[in-house]
Amino acid sequence: MAIAQPPGSSVDPRPASSGLLRRLGNQPVGRLLILPAIIYSVLITQAPFLLTIWYSFQRWNLLRPDRRDTIWFENYRYILTEFGAFREAILRTVTFTAGAVLISLLVGLLYAELVNHRFPGRGVVRTLLITPFLVMPVAAALTWKNLMLNPVYGVVDWVFRTVLPGDPSPNWTGTYPEISVIGVMVWRWAPFMMLILLAGMQSISEEIREAARVDGATPWQEFTGITLPHLYKFMQLGGLLGTVYIVNEVDAIYMLTKGGPGNATTTLPYLVYRTAIEGNNIGRGAALGVIAVILSMVAITILIRALDRMMRGTYADSVAGT
């Protein structure tokens, strides 16, 4: 769906408009080369979304197909006014995404600064730091849940017991489900932020650093005065992309807590899965899906604006250049 028109564009990207088709006929083959990809994307992503909207107006439970009926906005009314899990899920989605993105950015900044210096084995450390992002999230979440965070046999709990007085063996995924989920998400996404911020750090001109050092800047002053301001737009990019990726992540939630205890870790995408796929409630699930898309549009619009600015060359010298 063309939810995200870049600002200032007035053209409709729909390939089906007859004017466009006629023009395409007169164009060089180059333009036709784009068509198959567009058609595929429209078929697999846009068309189902239209169906989501249609389903969202229906009372449709797969276990009671005889009661299927068009009820228009009843699903929305129910979700917005009576469905407690929805309000919780919105809150969870915002706190999880914001928490995971911000902490990932900070940890990623630390990672990037660490490997942006020369030391023996720098390449190896970089590779070690990237690895959590490559590991299949399902396998990673299982490792965290069992080997790391299990209250009896987990390594993390063992470290806590060994280091701290008393007998602190918190049942992480049971007692602190939110912290557990955000923690595993940060572990996975900090490397992503590191990669983007590292690219930013390496595009800082050495002349500027040199000049600062000649003026007697301490490493800390150099970091706060030169590195951080320069990294701002990279952090923006990382934060926005991270938001779009992380908000849809259900892997860690599914494996660590199954959305529980209760609804404590159920985000909006997971609530859609629970309602429609596990709960057979197609109509309500579809309405939740529509709401998820509408809410995402806000974040997406901001992202598209940023990327658009970048493509126009505002960032060209520092981001895409080098």
């Binding site: 870049p6 189902p48 942006n116 590779t127 959590p132 849809n248 859609v272 895409a320």
Partner: protein, 296 residues
């Protein structure tokens, strides 16, 4: 390019330790040793869960829950034997097939599209690009319900074909953006020379440009394979009924044998191995794919 940049920043950084650290009373060696130790400790900490999973896969079930955790022990291959005697193999093969086939289709669709956008740009080229990105950022939750119904009606629930179709759509926008950024780096005179030679569009693409961006094409394929291999939401929603991909194997395995941590770790190690290796090889290009070609 990236290496050249790093080279430069490395050589230019040397005076810093010299001038500043000494001024504050530290030796250059001391400061960089501290830095190295800190970096290694943090790197190993971040990597530890992966390392520990790999090690646990070589333990007996008894040793897997032993505390304090042992990093040196007598390895056993029993868990791997058990995994390969279970039905792990078809899931693994299916994951490979789904990743490779969907990536092949992605390249068939994305290469011409990226080439068209970058080399034969029209007024609409940018809108097309943003159309692709908007499909990537459509939340899967927004389409999963009708897909579930369509898949059910077409008999695709629990099938690998269904996942291949979706993984193609999922990776297509990333591939178009990434390949476009590689095409745009091709010097203009190369294109002009090709035109003067009278090369047609297809010949220009296949014979002249593709070889030039071959590393970029490989990197794009790697990114696509990584995302397809690790994908979970579509798999668990639409394909958990069948013998499909490795994440589904993991979910089923937890349900049936979740208490066997060593065996689970062996399965997990097999599950992550191909992608971790590919990711290590492609790590220089990773950031480009993840940022949709914006950061190089």
């Amino acid at each position: 390019m990236q290496t050249a940049l790093q080279e430069r920043s490395l050589t230019a950084r040397r005076p810093r330790g010299f001038a500043i650290r000494r001024q504050r009373g530290f030796s250059k060696e001391g400061a960089s040793a501290t830095w190295a130790i800190a970096a290694w400790v943090i790197g190993l900490l971040a990597f530890f869960p992966v390392l520990y999973m790999v090690l646990t896969g070589f333990k007996t079930e008894q040793a897997a829950v032993d505390l304090p955790p042992k990093l040196v022990f007598e390895p056993t291959f029993d868990q791997y034997r058990a995994i390969f005697e279970s039905d792990f193999r078809p899931f693994f093969v299916n994951s490979a097939v789904a990743s490779v086939v969907s990536t092949a289709i992605v390249m068939l669709l994305a290469l011409p599209a990226a080439y068209g956008i970058a080399i034969h740009p029209t007024r609409k080229a940018k809108d097309v690009l943003f159309f692709f990105i908007s499909t990537k950022f459509l939340p899967p939750a927004g389409v999963i319900v009708p897909l579930f119904i369509i898949w059910r009606d077409l008999g695709l629930l629990g099938s690998l074909r269904g996942l291949v179709i979706l993984y193609t759509a999922m990776n297509l926008p990333i591939a178009v953006w990434m390949l476009r950024s590689f095409f745009e780096e091709i010097p203009r005179d190369v294109l002009d020379a090709a035109r003067i030679d009278g090369a047609g569009v297809i010949r220009e693409l296949v014979e002249i440009l593709l070889p030039m961006i071959a590393p970029g094409v490989v990197a794009t394929m790697f990114i696509s394979i990584i995302f397809a291999w690790n994908e979970f939401f579509f798999a668990v929603s639409l394909a958990s009924a069948g013998t499909t991909t490795v994440p589904i194997f993991m979910v089923k395995f937890v349900t049936s044998e979740g208490l066997f941590w060593a065996r689970l770790s062996a399965a997990g190690t097999m599950a992550i191995l191909p992608i971790v290796l590919i990711g290590w090889i492609a790590q220089r290009q990773l950031v480009r794919g993840l940022s949709l070609g914006a950061v190089k």
